[in-house]
Symmetry: C2
Subunit: 434 residues, 2 copies
Amino acid sequence: MSEPEHISIIDSPKHVGETVRIGAWLTDKRSSGKISFLQLRDGTAFFQGVVVKNAVTEEVWNLAKEMHQEASFWVTGEIHEDKRSHFGYEIEISNIEMVGESEGYPITPKEHGIDFLLDHRHLWLRSRKPFAIMHIRNEMIRATYEFFNKEGFIKMDPPEITNSAPEGTTELFHIDYFDTDAYLSQSGQLYMEAGAMAYGKVFSFGPTFRAEKSKTRRHLTEFWQMEPEMAFMHQEESLQIQERYIAYMVQCVLDKCAYDLKLLDRDPEILKRYTKTPFPRITYDKAIEMLQSAGYDTKWGADFGSPEETYISDQFEQPVFVMNYPKAVKSFYMKSHPTRDDVYICADLLAPEGYGEIIGGSEREDNYDVLKQSILDHHLSLDDYGWYLDLRKYGSVPHSGFGMGLERAITWICHLDHVREAIPFPRMINRLRP
Amino acid sequence: MSEPEHISIIDSPKHVGETVRIGAWLTDKRSSGKISFLQLRDGTAFFQGVVVKNAVTEEVWNLAKEMHQEASFWVTGEIHEDKRSHFGYEIEISNIEMVGESEGYPITPKEHGIDFLLDHRHLWLRSRKPFAIMHIRNEMIRATYEFFNKEGFIKMDPPEITNSAPEGTTELFHIDYFDTDAYLSQSGQLYMEAGAMAYGKVFSFGPTFRAEKSKTRRHLTEFWQMEPEMAFMHQEESLQIQERYIAYMVQCVLDKCAYDLKLLDRDPEILKRYTKTPFPRITYDKAIEMLQSAGYDTKWGADFGSPEETYISDQFEQPVFVMNYPKAVKSFYMKSHPTRDDVYICADLLAPEGYGEIIGGSEREDNYDVLKQSILDHHLSLDDYGWYLDLRKYGSVPHSGFGMGLERAITWICHLDHVREAIPFPRMINRLRP
Ligand SMILES: [Mg+2]
Ligand SMILES: [Mg+2]
């Protein structure tokens, strides 16, 4: 007899009726006299292994009965359909070869507190919910590369270590860079603008850092951002790219992650709404009106907090663009509105279901004198930003860009309570390990 | 007449004989009485615009004559084939609309020193050589995602901020993390091992950091690493993935970057050699023998420096694996050789043409007691590495992984003199801006 083929659980549908070999871990088990049910995982999916006492050696039967949660082994057996399970397939086990024992695995099927789980994140990643989230995260990353490559963007990586601090040093992590001061980047945008002038359409996708002391469910100190920047492009076209991108990414998750959505109990019918473009748009002025009519005390000129963003997004079935924010609550590099002195040409994209801002973007100020004045007005150093001004000195062009926070988008798409579950090893003010 | 279509230069081949509109910058120009040749770029490619005095208005003719290097504008014109150029197409210009002036652009067609160019990196990126390198970098990144996705890996991002220092703190950047000490990660590997136990096959691709004071042509303080980690996998299968991956990436560059290779004057025939697998393999013992026969003074037990790596790689037409290094020159987490107490199951992949190590990898120690002893022998803290030991306590499995330095691989594939040209904004001991 030939050796059984070594497969992954996820490939079971292609091997129904065949005898295969799988490297797996035990997640749970139960026994009823002459039959044992082993819940197995191999990192690609979860499914059930069935051991029938009369069909295996005594040694295998005893192994199945005695092994502990998270023991690792090779199983050999025949793949069957199993319509009662999420996954739809199971394996009828004929042999088990132990690989690694597991005594006293700390994460049991009972409920654990969040601090306990985060302290054991290196093991918690093996559980069903983190599994589903990380698979969806992977698909969102894959879809992002696919989308921007198809649209003619090239990936350009801005530096993580910088000598300057665009929005003040209080929210930046300080680094001892040999004999000088440096900071961890909280956005690559300014560098991406240099990239757009060189390569037309560029995107970055990497970690960024914010030394925020806030402990809200939306904040991490280390988070991944995706920041496209486009030359010869006004804000209107940028908004169209943003909505096409979000719709594409959600569609990819629907196409490739049906199993993960089931594990999370996330209704695909809700996600389908987000694959339809265009997304609704309102101005900041209109948002203020809506808030005030609903009894909010928010004055024109104020930034939106979580309650305001949630109220606004609840009025729509899709993500909604809020356009043209007051200058005081946005950044020095944004382009002034042509007919309104008090607002920028910018927009935030608010996710539905109360998840708040997932994208922030704008047209960039392309006039040398206006930008220079803005730098001075914001008490920034012309020495630090001279290179950035150069982009307006030598062939300035209209250009626009945006930034998406990956973990916030995952939190929304997976319908999570807290952004800390959207990244493998979350970093927060009180959380630096493992 | 309908509006001319707005296209990118790279799409010219699809528009021969059509009148189109392109947003572009001027890189150079020359004039001969009644005809002006404008060298244009738009970030997707470089090509020539031809202005014939009699065919345009006086205003356009004067614009063409008077505009400076890096001025930006919209050009309208008809696409023609141009067999004499690298690119193969040109545009016969009928109209020019200025967008941005450019006076005194610092990077002229003459030669500039490297420090001057690096000080102007935000502009230098626009030049032909950086353009070609960044397009090849982009394709290598794209090919990496494609390869590992096809092979069933998921992308998992390890943390950048860590509380511990696997290989001592002298080469790590220190961060003030609120009230505690933290470090920038120089490798995500240990975290990727937790990922492999959870998801089977994982890869990371992100920035890593090394506070190295060395000023060699191979060192950056901030560089991108790609680190796959595979559960239930021995070193042999990992080596096969490594050679398949490198061959795939080089093939993608050959397929997609012919124009960029031409700009760099890089002979595709040489690169074709690297698309053939398997790659040759020698042991460290054999490498020592070869070096000593060639008159090198290298003793068994010594690590290889640049001269040794160059000599070894020069003996092969393809990348070469050097296997089973002495324990003293490699890392505590590697798996001991089954029949040799003095070496690990590990391999470095040395690039041809004198480019040295581009991949380092190994099977990982999967025995709890052996790894614990290794941690103690290396004076590492069991408190810091308790979570890492857990991976051997709860269902340990044979597993292997490797890390590729992106910039070193680019330096090799593009045949560059120095790794600093392989990243958009290089960070080195004396280089932190722009
Ligand atoms: Mg906001
Ligand atoms: Mg080495």
